[in-house]
């Protein structure tokens, strides 16, 4: 007689189940995105997260227990960020000529992202901690969490807000770029990376190699610029 409770205890403790579920949900997400003919608004990350949230809620497994297992996937974000140097290196000949233009566009774009987020949050009566969590919204998760901590935000909330911004940018960004008649692949990539960090870059990489390289550049430059400037600007205004 098989003891179901014992199997359940094993599954809940071992990373195997969480890892397998994550990969299967991702594959299902890719399949769904393919069924939608890779429309920009059909993002595989959103599908995969939705599937897993439903699974967690249905099975009553806590997020922390799930993350214990899924952290192996999460860990790869580090080396993947380092790996963004490779497409940048491959495209360096293109990038080099427009590096000053890119830097200027990224710094001004990053400032707009932070300012609009803070202004809207403040105008609609969010608490100071929530407003501070919104400020570093457009940069990649680990940087954003560090900045939020420095300026009095909630790092955990920031992580969620950052990911939501990434999803919004990756799904609706291409439509906005089309509407704004931005056809230069370099400018499109740069905008995606600046506003929607890794998720925007993932989208840009899957569409065009030059856009992917510029998106990685935008993400890296915005992370550097925001990490260096935002705490200073914040201290200046918050007194």
């Amino acid at each position: 007689m098989v003891d179901l409770a014992q199997i359940w205890v094993y599954l809940a403790r071992d990373p195997l189940a969480a890892l397998t579920a994550t990969l299967l949900a991702w594959m299902a997400g890719l399949r769904l995105a393919e069924l939608c003919r890779w429309h920009p608004a059909a993002n595989p990350v959103v599908f995969a997260v939705a599937i897993l949230v439903a699974l967690l809620l249905a099975s009553g497994v806590e997020y922390r227990a799930y993350f214990e297992g899924a952290q192996f996937v999460h860990f790869l974000l580090g080396p993947a960020t380092v790996a963004l140097a490779v497409p940048l290196y491959r495209q360096w000949r293109h990038v080099r000529a427009s590096a000053p233009a890119a830097l200027l566009a990224v710094v001004s774009g990053g400032a707009v992202a932070a300012a609009v987020g803070v202004a809207l949050g403040w105008a609609f009566g969010a608490s100071p901690a929530v407003v501070a969590s919104l400020a570093p919204r457009s940069v990649t998760t680990p940087v954003a969490m560090g900045i939020a901590e420095q300026i009095g935000g909630l790092p955990g909330l920031t992580a969620t807000v950052v990911l939501a911004s990434g999803v919004v940018g990756a799904t609706l960004g291409p439509l906005v770029l089309n509407a704004a008649r931005i056809r230069d692949w370099r400018a499109r990539g740069l905008a995606m990376g600046t506003a929607a960090h890794g998720l925007g870059t993932a989208r840009a990489l899957s569409v065009n190699t030059a856009a992917g390289a510029f998106s990685g550049l935008g993400m890296g430059l915005n992370a550097l610029a925001t990490a260096l400037l935002l705490p200073l600007v914040w201290r200046f205004f918050a007194g």
Partner: protein, 123 residues
């Protein structure tokens, strides 16, 4: 493939150590990315014959392509954090969603416009 992975992890490790020891506000992986990029450029300067469209280091290009090819997957575990912050998100959903949607899309349009205008003028 393993040498490529070792290079990526090594750059990240050096980046993390630098960030912590120098109290830099920038996270280790971003410093690691800058280090790897500068390293590849330096190699091409020192050994011009090693310069290729692909980073010639054994397997580095392969590992990078494999990781970046499934970059979206790597965001899934953190994305589930939405469950934990559900109540907080629900409480201030209006400012949060407005700031996220309007802020992000404005930033994309603005950055794209500025970049396109500057690149047209300066190449």
């Amino acid at each position: 493939m393993i040498p490529g992975l070792a290079i990526l992890l090594g750059c990240q490790l050096v980046g993390e150590v630098l960030a912590r020891s120098l109290h830099m506000p920038v996270p280790g992986p971003v410093i690691g990315m800058a280090l790897l990029f500068l390293g590849l450029l330096a190699r091409d300067q020192l050994w011009p014959r090693a310069a290729r469209p692909d980073p010639g280091t054994p397997g580095l290009g392969q590992v990078a392509d494999a990781l970046l090819g499934s970059l979206g997957l790597l965001f899934v575990p953190a994305g589930l954090g939405v469950v934990v912050y559900g109540p907080q998100l629900a409480r201030s959903w209006a400012p949060l969603s407005l700031a996220i949607v309007v802020g992000t899309l404005l930033c994309i349009a603005f950055t794209g416009r500025v970049a396109q205008a500057l690149m047209r003028r300066f190449g």
